[in-house]
């Protein structure tokens, strides 16, 4: 074997964050090793897995967890995450340990944060400030939009995040149900917008235009939607050596607090070791914490990068609630991609001193299956059964939401006493959702009721239980002060100057939008820092 055992850059994790860093550095001429705990999966296989799946609602199932690198499964529950605390079930998160990472299945919403999201403590007196501002990140947001291929409203719609360039692609034209919601809500005091998405509205980056497979989750069959595998391929073409099934269990640190090596178990369970000049931990907000905590030494008793005792703390997500009802008009959700619009009138404002910002989004998922299960449960057969399937498919409306949550050091991940097949500890999570979020959810419920009324809603079903939205943030939090934060403005560990954290774990506020574009922007920022460190032009 001609595997390099040493590289300029060792990237741990092959999702959108790690793949972007690897792709950028390899293209700049650096030697890059990328270690991925899980296996490679082919897109066609994932599609076939989905089509053969009895429970089509289970987005994890088409990606069977490997024995050596398990990820959470819930149908049935493999109990990989050990969940505790009053709101344990609200952190029953989904993520994938496979080459390409969790953006194999996502809504592809590619939002920028708002300027105030970076200064929650300074502006609103709650939460924490980041160590960077929106203006610092703006150029990287744009580069991320170009890399991922983001289509968005180039028609002057103000989404609150100032732009210097238009979106790389114009937004996809709205589906009929999204048009109707736009028409009705926008004259009734709501602000419903076409949302920016990493989904092609024209051929882009050698990938086709979205043709409305309505299957963004769990898998886009034609790669019209971006996923991290796009940059894995680019990284490999540029010379990155990717080792799959490499479960990193320890980072080695020297007497000068530099990271010198990563140790991993290979597919056969043998321990391997690679060395490097710089290490980029990009194994998501939970698995990255696991590696840091497992790497404890006599000097670093609480784990690496953890002199602040903040590693694993401040866990955040976007607690979600929902509503489903039957509209009094024909809407037919399910034509086009799964999500196209959002309601954004409570993303920012003075209210954030008291309650959480939020984003509501209309679900454009095809309703055939749920309509059919309901119609069958009514005992129908024959023409009446089909009539009811058509009625429910055409009239069902489902709206969901993301609520902000404040970083709380008591919401944390630790290493469980329970072990996985390799003998490595499982993540143990303690989680509680505070009144700041709950107050907002009460308001959201009222909005749901008003929206249902605007559409003459019947069979209105509120889902007020906070659902996880798999946006794992805060666990290696960014800040200016090394005493209360894990990484600095460059996402560099305060404690180890050759260790970078490329994960949504660095985010110091949750905001109210999907975090992937911000992960991508931060990862490109890290890549530039590393290029300069290696003497490559950034």
């Amino acid at each position: 074997m001609s595997e390099n055992r040493s590289a300029d850059i060792v990237v741990i994790g092959s999702g959108v964050a790690g793949a972007l860093v690897a792709s950028e550095l390899a293209q700049a001429g650096a030697s890059v090793l990328m270690l991925e705990a899980g296996p490679r999966l082919e897109r066609w296989r994932i599609v076939e897995n989905y089509r053969n799946l009895p429970n089509k609602d289970d987005n994890q199932r088409p990606y069977p967890a490997s024995k050596h690198a398990p990820h959470p499964e819930y149908g049935p529950d493999n109990n990989y995450l050990v969940l505790k605390g009053p709101d344990a079930s609200s952190y029953s998160s989904q993520y994938l340990r496979v080459v390409g990472g969790t953006t194999w299945h996502w809504a592809a919403s590619a939002w920028r944060y708002l300027p105030n999201d970076f200064h929650m403590q300074s502006v609103y007196g709650v939460g924490r400030d980041w160590a960077i501002s929106y203006d610092d990140l703006e150029p990287y947001y744009y580069r991320a939009e170009v890399e991922l291929g983001v289509s968005g409203p180039n028609d002057g719609t103000d989404l609150g995040s100032p732009r210097k360039q238009p979106y790389p692609m114009d937004h996809l034209p709205l589906s009929y149900i999204d048009q109707r919601f736009s028409d009705v809500l926008n004259v009734n005091g709501y602000k419903l917008v076409s949302e920016p998405v990493a989904r092609n509205s024209r051929p882009y980056d050698a990938r086709p235009t979205c043709c409305g497979n309505n299957n963004c989750m769990p898998i886009c069959p034609i790669a019209a939607m971006y996923s991290g595998i796009v940059h894995v391929a680019k990284a490999e073409r540029a010379g990155t050596q990717l080792i799959a099934d490499a479960v990193v269990y320890r980072l080695e640190v020297d007497a000068h607090d530099k990271i010198v090596a990563a140790q991993y178990f290979d597919a056969d369970g043998n321990s391997q070791r690679v060395t490097g000049r710089y290490f980029v931990l990009a194994a998501n907000a939970l698995e990255s914490v696991k590696i840091l905590l497992m790497s404890s030494t006599d000097k670093w008793k609480n784990g690496l990068a953890n002199s602040s005792d903040q590693v694993g703390r401040n866990l955040m997500d976007h607690p979600g609630t929902g509503v489903t009802f039957l509209a009094n008009e024909t809407l037919w959700p399910g034509r086009g991609p799964m999500e196209m619009t959002s309601i954004v009138d409570h993303r920012d404002g003075e209210f954030r001193r008291d309650w959480a910002a939020k984003k509501l989004h209309l679900n454009n998922q095809v309703q055939t299956r749920h309509a059919t299960l309901k119609a069958l449960a009514m005992g129908l057969t024959g023409p009446r059964l089909e009539q009811e399937i058509r009625y429910r498919s055409a009239h069902t409306v489902n709206i969901n939401s993301f609520h902000d949550i404040l970083p709380d050091p008591e919401n944390r991940m630790r290493l469980s006493d329970q072990k996985d097949a390799l003998g490595l500890p499982r993540p143990e999570i303690t989680y509680q959702i505070g009144d700041y979020t709950k107050r907002s959810a009460v308001h959201t419920h009222e909005s749901y009721a008003q929206i249902a009324a605007l559409f003459g809603g019947t069979e209105i079903s509120f889902d007020d239980h906070f659902a996880p939205n798999n946006h794992l943030m805060g666990s290696v939090i960014m800040g200016r002060d090394p005493r209360d934060s894990v990484v600095d403005h460059e996402c560099r560990a305060h404690d180890h100057d050759n260790l970078f954290l490329a994960t949504s774990g660095v985010m110091a506020s949750a905001s109210s939008v999907n975090c992937t574009l911000t992960i991508a922007a931060l990862s490109l920022h890290i890549a530039d820092t590393l290029k300069r460190a290696l003497g490559k032009s950034a």
């Binding site: 009895p54 024909t330 059919t372």
Partner: protein, 211 residues
């Protein structure tokens, strides 16, 4: 839509049925009790589950006529005819019918008996539409009514069984997708050009009320 585009059932599914390998004929003109006996025989085969499927599951042949010369119709053909009556959709796919029958038989040891009883019930109710059939059976024999609904459910969802036992027999061939195919498609199968979704879809105004 051709059968070849159906999803492959993973190993441990219904295998590759070879129904013609073993045929068991029953004489016609037998009493109801014997019919149930035949059902019991199907059940006995079904009870051995995957082992049967692996060696080529069985098409029991059951009598349908009241007397006269011995005739026999393979069970999968009977099931196809019955399914067309129960769903009101014709013609249904004979290959799917065979696979639904095998899966239903494998998952419930009583299915063979119930299947025979359903055949008999339907034979006694000629020219009756699926809704009246179902309503009558739900009223007169709710246990057998459940079997009727299980068969209808299989055809519409493409899935037989529940929870860990759930088995996908068809995906895009499931009748629920056929019922809406003029407007929406089975997720992961795009059928139209980009932006088709901007057009106003057809109106649907009527709810169904249970019969």
């Amino acid at each position: 839509m051709t059968q070849s585009s159906e999803p492959r059932v993973p190993a441990g599914g219904d295998g590759s049925p070879s129904l013609d390998k073993r045929r068991f004929l029953l004489q016609t003109g037998v009493a109801a009790g014997t019919l149930l006996g035949a059902g019991g025989w199907i059940a006995a085969i079904a009870a051995s589950g995957n082992a049967v499927a692996a060696t080529g599951p069985v098409a029991a042949s059951v009598p349908v006529t009241g007397g006269g010369a011995p005739t026999a119709v393979p069970a999968d053909t009977q099931f196809l005819t019955l399914s067309q009556t129960l769903t009101g959709r014709s013609p249904l796919d004979p290959i799917l019918a065979r696979r639904y029958l095998n899966a239903l038989s494998a998952q419930d040891t009583n299915f063979g008996t119930q299947f025979i009883a359903l055949l008999k019930f339907v034979a006694l109710s000629p020219e009756t539409g699926p809704e009246v059939l179902a309503a009558t059976l739900d009223r007169q024999n709710s246990d057998l009514g459940k079997v009727l609904h299980r068969i209808v459910s299989a055809w519409y969802t493409g899935v037989v069984g529940e929870g860990a036992n759930a088995q996908v027999i068809a995906y895009q061939g499931a009748l629920m997708f056929v019922a809406v195919e003029d407007v929406v498609m089975p997720p992961s199968y795009c059928r139209a050009a980009p932006f088709y979704w901007t057009a106003k879809p057809p109106q649907v105004t009527a709810h169904s009320i249970p019969a």
